[in-house]
Symmetry: C2
Subunit: 303 residues, 2 copies
């Protein structure tokens, strides 16, 4: 897992936080840890980052040899405020700090990893990571965003050729393909390299495209979305964790993985930040998976 | 079925129509006719309405004794223009014409109907219809919209107490309940009378709430939405037709009905107006139902 480990400060209609732990890699590895107990973390923090959280990663089976700690520097910090509908937010502050000069170095022992998750960072860094792998992983999944489409489309296009799974949201799929129809957009994007495209639609669920097939995973209708931060990353973490655990790269298993990812995202939004992801139990996850089964299960036999 | 039979003129990014046949009752009865071959239509048109369409209704098993034809008057006319995203539209013209003085008269032979669909008309007219029934139908389904919540909330509330199923969209559910969360909104609305609440989310599918249960029916991801007019009505028609055909009012069967309704809506948007609904075949419907099954089917066995 390569991505950010950071501080966030979040305001929602329900309250606000001080600096809490955030970053894509934090959500992704913690969500994945419920399925797979051997992960490698590549990221960078300042020496303001709490040792206790690093220990917490380790307790969850996350190797932190690849987590660079920059003495005298500060960790990446983001703060944002969500609007009442929880679907839009304003960024109040972005302090790149250590991230400005992040050079991902993959420790020797990581270079044979079978599953590689490229979090949402500069595509040129994602390329650097791919180039350091000693062998092509069985599966490479990549997250990105509109920002990189705006300013780094060329290197983004290079990364796309070398990944198996791309996760983006619906607006980003439209921007990347230049097509409003998600069905046509998915065809164009699959021609750019990935074998699987996952289009995230937030509270409206997610679509998985592969060859000429499509699968829809719903979001669980929740009484309250408390804090949407990290939902997309927890979704990706659940997917990667489930795939790494099962070792099965078929379309059927990818569908299962996306349901597990959706379940992890549904937990994350129930509390501020990482809080809910740090306290989950296996029975809770199974119970939630059953809720997803009930949510979409119907029985039609065509005569 | 009580609702409008009308003329529409529609502009979409793909083209525009002259006056074509529209109206909620046209879509609902035609969609339902693929499942149930004995329907009663209560509506009003002017003598400008084509006899050929009335014959077409009759050929589809729709009794038109309750369709009032007002000599020397004009049919209800609506024209609208869809924006590029197909999710929003501007109304260009609304000529109520015969609808302004519509007084729904239920023919004697209709008054024992087992299934009653109250289309989106003035709630005071919906009440008049209910009052004319000789016995309480097994199932009453009602459609309405924000407009009636704004100007006729009191009579709308009266109708709600006397129906089994309410269909509205997500924004209308929020307005009617005063709650942004659809889960909480559904609880409040179910307390107002209906046993089932169906919340339509357009391209994002639909939610069915009943007691403490929830079911999600996806919309089929389409390459092109050609004309969204009548999608919600075709959805309702598919549901009512399927229920009347099966006679089964259980939650499991309501789930099936909503999948059939979603399939009918997915056809309607493929061409302008009623066109697609007039030319469907049973194998096409079965094929589409299979696409819905494939779209959401996954296989997780929890150990």
């Amino acid at each position: 897992m390569v991505g950010t480990v950071a501080f966030d400060a979040i305001e929602t209609p329900f309250g606000k936080t001080d600096k809490i732990i955030g970053g894509s890699a934090s959500y992704i590895t913690m969500a994945a840890s419920y399925f797979h107990n051997c992960q490698y973390l590549v990221s960078v923090v300042g020496d303001d980052f709490p040792r206790s959280m690093i220990s917490r990663f380790q307790e969850s089976g996350i190797d932190t040899k690849g987590l660079q700690i920059k003495a005298g520097e500060k960790s990446f910090f983001w703060s944002g405020r969500y609007h009442n509908d929880m679907n839009s937010r304003d960024t109040l502050m972005t302090d790149l700090n250590v991230l400005a000069s992040f050079d991902p170095i993959i420790p020797e022992s990581y270079r044979y990893a079978s599953y590689l998750m490229l979090g949402n960072v500069d595509p040129s860094l994602q390329l650097k990571v791919l180039d350091q792998m000693a062998k092509r992983p069985r599966l490479v999944m990549m997250d990105t965003m509109n920002f990189w489409m705006d300013i780094a489309l060329e290197s983004l296009t290079e990364v796309l050729k070398r990944v198996d799974v791309l996760t983006i949201n619906d607006e980003e799929a439209r921007q990347l393909s230049g097509d409003y129809s998600l069905v046509r957009a998915s065809r164009r994007i699959l021609e750019m390299g990935p074998k699987y495209l996952i289009i995230k639609k937030g509270e409206h669920g997610a679509l998985l495209f592969h060859e000429d097939k499509v699968f829809f995973a719903p979001a669980l209708p929740l009484e309250e979305v408390f804090d949407p931060t990290g939902a997309g990353d927890s979704f990706a973490g659940g997917i990667m964790g489930y795939i790494a655990h099962s070792g099965d790269l078929t379309f059927s298993n990818m569908k299962r993985a996306i349901i597990y990812g959706s379940a992890m995202a549904s937990f994350t939004v129930e509390k501020f930040g990482l809080q809910r992801l740090l306290e989950l139990s296996r029975p809770e996850i199974n119970h939630r998976i059953n809720e997803f089964i009930d949510l979409v299960q119907f029985d039609i036999s065509l005569s």
